[in-house]
C-alpha cells in the first residue's frame, strides 16, 4: 500500500467517525493549548519582573543601611550596638571610587505640597541630579544641572502632579511650598507610569539636604550607584563595601546589593515556575494520550470484522499496523495544530486583557507542546495498532 493511500485511508476513516475524532482532537488540543498558555503566563511574569527591574536603571548597585540578616534582628543589637547611619559623607566617598560612574543618595518621605491654592500629600524623593540618569527618568520641561540642583531650593515635579497643580501647563518657574519650605519648580518629569510599585508621575524630587532637613534625619534611605561597566559590577560592589566599612571603623553594617543579582534570582525563580506549570500542563497531554489509546483500542474491537477482511484480501500485518498507527498520529497532529492555534489565541487574549504582561509563549514551549502531543499520540497508537495487526483473520471474520 502506498504512503499517500495509507494516509487517505486513515483520513477517510477518521472522517467517518466525526464526533469521536473531534473529541480526541479536542483533548489533545486542550493539552497543547494548556502548555502554551501556562508557559506564556509564567514567562510573561518573568519578563514583566525583568522589565520592571530594568526600568529602575542599569548596572545598578544599591547600598542599604544595616546588615541584611535573615535570622533575628541586627546582630550587633545584642551587644548594645546599633547600625551606623549611611550618611551623605559616605555617599561622597563612594562617589570618588574610580569604578563609579555616578551615584545618587536617596531619602524618601511624605510631605504636603501646596501651590496655586491646591494642597496635597506627595511622596518626596530627596536626591541629587544624578538620580535622573540612574533611574532612567527624563524631563519634559526644564533643565537640571548637576552641582547646581543640589545646592539650591529647586524641585522637580512628576508629570501628573504638574498637571494637577498647574493645569495651564505653566508649572516651570513657579514657586511651590513643600512642608515649611519653598521651592522653585525647575523641571517636570516625563510620563513614565508605574515601575516597581512606584508611580514616578506622582512624586517630587528635591535636593537631598533639603529632604534630610524636612524629614529631620541624617541617614540615607538608600544609596544608588551606577557602575561604569556591566563587567565591573562585582568589583565595584566590593569596593563600595570596603569603603563604607572603613569609614564605619571596620563595622560591617551596610548591605550592598546589585540589581543583577536580584534580577538573576527573580529570573531563576520565575523560570522554574514556568517549567513547573509546563510540567503540569504536559500531564494533561499524557491524559490525552491515554484517551487516544483507549479510543483506538475500542476502534480495533469495533472494526475486527474489517481487519479480518483486510487480511483476507491480502493486507500484510505491517500494513494494518501502519493504518491504525497513522490514524493515531493524524489525530494527535491535528490536535497539536489546533492546540497550537488555541494556545496562541489564548496568549493573545491574555496580552489584550493585561497589556502590561508580555504573555508571549516561549519558543521552546510551542515546540515542546506540539512534540509531546505527537509523541504521546504515536506511542498511544502503538499498542492498538499491534493488537489489530495480530488478530487472527479467521476469528476476526467470524466475529460479525
Amino acid at each position: 500500500m502506498r504512503a499517500q493511500d495509507t494516509l487517505l485511508f486513515a483520513v477517510k476513516t477518521l472522517r467517518s467517525y466525526p464526533t469521536r475524532s473531534m473529541l480526541i482532537m479536542l483533548a489533545m488540543a486542550l493539552g497543547v493549548a494548556a502548555v502554551i498558555v501556562l508557559t506564556a503566563l509564567g514567562d510573561g511574569a518573568r519578563r514583566y519582573v525583568i522589565n520592571q527591574f530594568s526600568s529602575i536603571g542599569t548596572n545598578l548597585i544599591i547600598v542599604l543601611p544595616g546588615r541584611a540578616e535573615t535570622a533575628g534582628g541586627f546582630p550587633g543589637a545584642a551587644l548594645g550596638q546599633t547600625p551606623r547611619d549611611l550618611t551623605l559623607d559616605d555617599a561622597r566617598w563612594v562617589g570618588r571610587l574610580p569604578q563609579v560612574r555616578r551615584y545618587a543618595p536617596l531619602n524618601v518621605g511624605v510631605a504636603e505640597l501646596s501651590a496655586a491654592g491646591v494642597l496635597r500629600e506627595v511622596t518626596v524623593l530627596g536626591s541629587s541630579a544624578e538620580i535622573l540618569p540612574i533611574r532612567h527618568m527624563r524631563l519634559v520641561q526644564g533643565n537640571i544641572i548637576a552641582g547646581i540642583f543640589e545646592n539650591s531650593a529647586q524641585i522637580i515635579l512628576g508629570d501628573k502632579l504638574a498637571q494637577d497643580f498647574f493645569p495651564d501647563g505653566n508649572a516651570l518657574g513657579q514657586r511651590v511650598r513643600l512642608g515649611d519650605r519653598r521651592f522653585l519648580v525647575a523641571g517636570i518629569l516625563a510620563m513614565q507610569g508605574e515601575s516597581m510599585g512606584f508611580n514616578s508621575d506622582e512624586i517630587v524630587i528635591i535636593p537631598v539636604q533639603h529632604a534630610q532637613a524636612l524629614f529631620n534625619t541624617h541617614s540615607l534611605f538608600r544609596l544608588m550607584v551606577e557602575a561604569r561597566h556591566r563587567s565591573e559590577i562585582e568589583a565595584t560592589k566590593a569596593a563600595i563595601h570596603e569603603t563604607i566599612v572603613r569609614r564605619h571603623n571596620g563595622e560591617d553594617d551596610v548591605t550592598v546589593i546589585t540589581q543583577d543579582a536580584v534580577l538573576a534570582t527573580f529570573d531563576r525563580i520565575l523560570h522554574a515556575l514556568t517549567l513547573g506549570v509546563a510540567g503540569i500542563a504536559i500531564i494533561s497531554l499524557l491524559v490525552a494520550g491515554i484517551l487516544v489509546m483507549n479510543v483506538m483500542l475500542v476502534a480495533v474491537s469495533q472494526r475486527t470484522g474489517e481487519i479480518g477482511l483486510l487480511k483476507a484480501i491480502g493486507t500484510p500485518a505491517l500494513t494494518i499496523r501502519l493504518v491504525f498507527l497513522t490514524e493515531a498520529i493524524l489525530l494527535s497532529v491535528a490536535g497539536a495544530i489546533l492546540g497550537f492555534a488555541l494556545g496562541q489565541a489564548g496568549s493573545l487574549l491574555l496580552r489584550i486583557a493585561y497589556p502590561q504582561l508580555p504573555a508571549w509563549p516561549p519558543i521552546w514551549a510551542n515546540f515542546a507542546g506540539i512534540a509531546v502531543a505527537i509523541l504521546v499520540g504515536t506511542l498511544a497508537g502503538l499498542l492498538p495498532a499491534a493488537r489489530a495487526a495480530r488478530l487472527d483473520p479467521v476469528q476476526a471474520l467470524n466475529k460479525r
Binding site: M1, R2, D5, F9, K12, T13, S16, G305, E306, G308, L309, L310, K311, A312, I313, G314, T315, P316, A317, L318, T319, P393, V394, L397, R400
Partner: protein, 227 residues
Amino acid sequence: MIQLAAISRIFYMGEQAVRALDQVDLTILPGEYVSIMGPSGSGKSTLLNVIGLLDRPDSGQYLLNGKNVTDLSETEQAKVRREKIGFVFQSFHLVPRMTAAENIELPLTLSGIPLSERKTRVLETLQSFNLSDRAQHRPAELSGGQRQRVAIARATIMRPTAILADEPTGNLDHRIGAEVMALLEALHQGGTTLLIVTHDRELGLRAQRKIGMRDGRIESDTRNEKQ
C-alpha cells in the same frame, strides 16, 4: 493448481482436541468448479481457509501452482492472497463506511496500484457487474444481492486464479441466491477456479466436482463427467 497433502488442522476446545482437518489429500486442477458440502463442523470452512491461506495447517504440505506455500511468511502469504485468491463470504464483509466503488477498489489500493489505473479498473468492474448506478452507495443502502455483487466484484478485481466462496448465498433468498450463483459460474466460465462451500445440496450439485466432508475427512469426491 491446488495440491494438499496430508493436511491436518487441530483445534483445542479445553482439553479436547478437535480434528477440523484430518490428513486431507486433495488436488484441484486449474479452472475446476468444486463444491464442498457437509454438515456443520465437518471442516469444510477450515478446508477453504487453509486453501485461502487464512489458516495455517498444523501438519501437511500445500502446493499452490507447484510452489510450497505452507512455510511462507505472513507477509508473503498476504501477497499470495492478494494476487491469486478472491474471497466471497456469507456475510459479504463490506467496509460499512466506504462506498461500493471504494470497497471494490480496496484490493487495488492495497497492492499499491496508481490512482488513475485504479479508477479505470473500478469503472470497468462496476460496469461488468451492472453496479454503475450503485457506485456511490454505502453497503447499508444496498440490497443483499447488490452487496454480494459488490463483494464478488471486489474478489475478482485483482484477477485471481481462484475464487473461494463460503456460503455465498447463505444470507440471500432463493431467487437472489440463484443470480449470485449465476454470476460466480460465469466467472468460472471465464477460466477461474471456483470453490464453493455450502450445506445446500441443490446448490452443491451444480458443480462439476462435488466433495463431501465429514469429521475433517473427505468422504466422497465425485465428478460430473458430462461437463
